[in-house]
């Protein structure tokens, strides 16, 4: 019936996942190199939990903090891209099921996407 579309969806999902992981790892690596060059000699102390600074705690703050002088924001942006990868996978699945006119799976996928968007963008 719709096997052609399901297989095509699987191929697209595979590409989305691979691209997301490679791209985010590359950005985290670059940010990490920049961080070690600039802050390599500072003390690493993570025994007591203070929490990451406010500027690294939300999508908007991270994008705002991004810049060549803020290496940790570059790392955090790469991690954000990584978190977005499975979310993009769900979004592509939603489009795929919509094209297949599979109403049940459009509803199921929308619920999952809503939970994910609430988590990453929700105001708390």
């Amino acid at each position: 019936m719709n096997t052609w579309n399901d297989e095509r969806l699987e191929r697209i999902i595979s590409i989305v996942l691979r691209t997301g992981v490679i791209l985010s790892a590359a950005i985290v690596f670059l940010g990490g190199a920049c961080y070690l060059v600039r802050h390599g000699h500072e003390l690493a102390d993570y025994r007591v939990f203070r929490g990451a600074p406010e500027e690294y705690r939300s999508v908007r703050a991270i994008i705002h903090a991004m810049g060549p002088s803020n290496c940790r924001a570059i790392i955090q942006f790469g991690l954000l891209l990584l978190i977005a990868t499975p979310i993009a996978r769900v979004a592509f699945s939603l489009a795929g099921f919509a094209l297949e006119r599979d109403r049940a799976y459009v509803v199921i996928t929308s619920i999952v996407l809503a939970v994910l968007i609430y988590s990453i963008a929700g105001q708390r």
Binding site: H39, A44, Y46, G51, R72, T85, P86, D102, I108, R124
Partner: protein, 281 residues
């Protein structure tokens, strides 16, 4: 310790965890948290934040291959993700309200279970269990490439106990969000033993779901400051590199002995986690 010493050390620990996690099927995330807290004294909240991020990386990387090969069932994954993502949200909320000593104890218990589970093996059974009418309605029943390959090797399977499986997935998601792990062991139990999905399909579909489940708690972790770039960077890169190395050696490697040894190491770490938690409270 300066960052120039800390970062490579964490990278090496994470790479080892990722390598052994891939070889044994335990996953790197579940090993990296006890390693960071027990060896380096890192606060467990920083450790689970970094571990969660690494779980998304390894799961997405591996899923890209499995989906293409036709093992993962994306409909089963999508449907069960309703439960795992809601559970993950709940777990992440609970995580910040749970004292770290209790988190350590729960972590140790889950780790013990995972070590035991990974060593138990699994029994192949008839793939045509009693089909659930709900599974047919949701188009969950599927096919996968059998042992012979090609068109002749396509195996069909039916899915049972959909509602019970969904319930257990809610629990797996909660544990994942609470401890920053993939909780693959629980997901496989739900699919393999409760829903009677073939083992190979269960493990690959579990892997497929882990990334989305972890992404659901990642937003909350980020907001609470659990994802600290200075730790998450070497952990994510290390676990990813280690698990890619492990996966490439999986075929043909003699993993049986290694799996045994590693299960014992993990069990010892689990007990240390429990002891440290009990002492801390």
């Amino acid at each position: 310790m300066t960052n120039l010493e800390f970062t490579p050390l964490v990278f090496l620990i994470s790479m080892t965890a990722g390598y052994l996690g891939a070889l044994t099927g335990l996953g790197g995330g579940v090993v990296v948290t006890p390693a960071l807290t027990l060896l380096l004294g890192v606060d467990i909240r920083y450790a689970i934040g970094a571990s969660l991020v690494s779980v998304i990386a390894t799961s997405s990387g591996a899923a890209a291959a499995y989906v293409r090969e036709g093992f993962s069932n994306i409909r089963i994954g999508m449907f069960l993700e309703i439960a795992t993502t809601l559970g993950a949200l709940l777990g992440a909320f609970l995580s910040s309200r749970t004292p770290t000593s209790i988190l350590a104890v729960i972590f140790g218990l889950v780790l013990l279970h995972a070590a035991w589970q990974s060593n138990r093996g699994h029994s192949e059974r008839s793939t045509n269990a009693l089909p659930d009418p709900l599974a047919a309605r949701l188009k969950l029943n599927g096919t996968y490439p059998g042992d012979y390959g090609g068109d002749h090797g396509i195996e069909h399977y039916n899915v049972s106990n959909v509602k019970a499986g969904l319930g257990l997935m809610l629990g797996a998601g909660t544990i994942s969000g609470l401890l920053g792990i993939g909780s693959g062991a629980l997901k496989v139990i739900a699919m393999d033993q409760i829903m009677r999905i073939p083992f190979k399909v269960s493990t690959t579909t579990s892997n497929f779901m882990i990334g989305v489940t972890a992404a659901a708690s990642a937003g909350i972790y980020l907001n609470r400051g659990y994802i600290e770039p200075g730790i998450a960077m070497p952990v994510m890169l290390g676990v990813l590199a280690g698990s890619m190395l492990g996966a490439s050696q999986l075929i043909g490697a003699r993993v049986r002995v290694l799996r045994r040894i590693f299960a014992i190491v993990v069990a010892v770490m689990a007990i240390e986690m429990i002891v440290s938690g009990v002492r801390g409270s």
